[in-house]
Symmetry: C2
Subunit: 308 residues, 2 copies
């Protein structure tokens, strides 16, 4: 079957939600176009931005790095750097760090690795060992990684921090917050974070309109050296159930994930109005920005210290 876009080359992908069948070249182009449109629509970047890309080494983040690299070629005053956080989970990140290094080398992009051990004095394995069953590694990791990324981006002089959350991640988070009874948290789920603080590097999500299946195919067709290795602590709980549910629905009713995301965008202003403006303070322990008095990371780290 021929590509429905160029009509010349053999199609390799049937995009069920649009009805298109695409050849490799047209598919890659269409994902890049989608990311460009998302960046423009939400005003994610300015011409002189120094953009830190959070690159774990998985398909999503390598795809993000590659696409931003292509786009930024046209903005000679902008800069791109890559940050990888090594959480300290056995040798889990070893291969990934090597592969990210290779791609960065090929693209001529600086690559910086930061470790939980340097930043916090603990690896994630230490946290798990100290905490036993009651410490949920994924909750710790999420909070600590988010703060580590902001710390690294700021230290490296970045003006934006790009993360590789896909449409799937966002749709899952929307459903999960409802299931957890915490819908007001969703006010934060934005393509461009609107928290403002001198110590906070603004986070943007250029892949928020790209389904995960398409970042995987992009990484494969663009021959990106991504790793498929699963984190040994990968939570088998709620997010995984929601993922399976949404994938099954998407299969039967293509474009469900887009629909959820857009539905949520329609009610977000109402949720934001309910919450009002969130003012950020500086954490009394570490000085990092937080809506409360003590930041989430310090609260968790205190728990470990007290536990030992």
């Amino acid at each position: 079957m021929l590509c429905t876009k160029c009509g010349k080359r053999e199609a390799v992908y049937h995009r069920r939600y649009s009805g298109e069948s695409l050849c490799s070249r047209c598919f890659l182009q269409s994902v890049e176009e989608r990311v460009k449109r998302t960046i423009n629509q939400y005003g994610m970047f300015e011409p002189k931005d120094r953009i830190a890309v959070a690159v774990s080494g998985g398909k999503d983040s390598l795809t993000l790095l590659q696409i931003l690299y292509k786009i930024e070629q046209k903005f000679p005053k902008s800069e791109l750097i890559a940050i990888t956080i090594d959480e300290g989970i056995g040798d889990y990140r070893r291969e990934a760090i090597k592969l990210v290094g290779q791609l960065c080398n090929r693209l001529g992009v600086e690559h910086h690795v930061y470790t939980f051990r340097e930043i916090y004095g603990y690896t994630l394995d230490d946290v798990v060992e100290a905490g036993g069953v009651e410490f949920k590694p994924c909750s710790y990791c999420g909070v600590l990684r988010r703060r580590a990324l902001n710390f690294a981006a700021r230290e490296l002089g970045a003006t934006k921090l790009a993360v590789a959350h896909t449409l799937d991640d966002e749709a899952q988070t929307i459903i999960m917050n409802l299931l957890r009874g915490d819908p007001l948290r969703l006010a934060r789920l934005k393509p461009v974070s609107d928290f403002v603080h001198p110590r906070l590097v603004r986070r943007v999500k250029p892949l928020c309109m790209v389904p995960e299946a398409e970042t995987a195919l992009y990484a494969y067709l663009a021959r990106l050296p991504y790793t498929n290795r699963q984190c040994p602590y990968a939570h088998k709980a709620l997010r995984n159930e929601v993922r399976i549910f949404l994938n099954r629905l998407e299969f039967k009713h293509p474009s469900t994930k887009f629909t959820i995301y857009k539905a949520f965008e329609r009610i977000r202003p109402a949720i934001e109005a309910t919450i009002g403006e969130v003012k950020l303070n500086e954490c009394k322990i570490c000085g990092e920005p937080t809506p409360g008095e003590i930041c989430q990371a310090c609260k968790l780290l205190n728990k470990i210290t007290n536990h030992q």
Copy 2:
């Protein structure tokens, strides 16, 4: 194992979301108490209400009728009547109508049967026959049944219309509206409808805090003569998928359905504020209340007439 409430009788039900194990008598009582609390919390009834109960003959609606009957015993100025709508789906309602009649007889409650054919001139089978694949029987049935119930309740002089939507129905509807991209519709999902119009009998949902598993057990333990017959058009689409998903989650994380409902209650005011007050007009064709110019039922009925 003994009942954790009375400590005397053998437990027949383990309520996972609360940790209680209940004997038959304590279980029945606890469901009745929950319904009473819901009625009080939302101010569903006044002492002189003439309450029409929509009774299809399934476990939910017979449980509702039985519990309201018990509660209303203490309000001698209130009245209870039962309405069954016969949609005209083969002989699907025949057994149900007989069983509802039996229970009403036993309780001394008037029972009135209204048919789609009388009210609209069409049975649901006619709709399906006229429409072919593109007519979704469940959408038609939902709209026409809702209007038929209001018509019947009004004609019978009722001041309230009680429907047997359970916690499961409400949680499913919340998720479905997100999946369909129509979250603003959720403003309507209230325990007490706040649409006001002289031709509209106010709808209330006394079972909105009772999980479906518990209405089933209630009907069984209270020996209500309910029917388990499934509608032959029962949609196998979205609602069913959402039901399976939520039941699986509820099994793994007990009380998920309550959490969703409460999460939604927290954002509903924001959604309502977005929409503003909805003013009801009278449909230009049938005179029934509608937010637009032509009511949903007349639009659908027109489609059939034009299709024949």
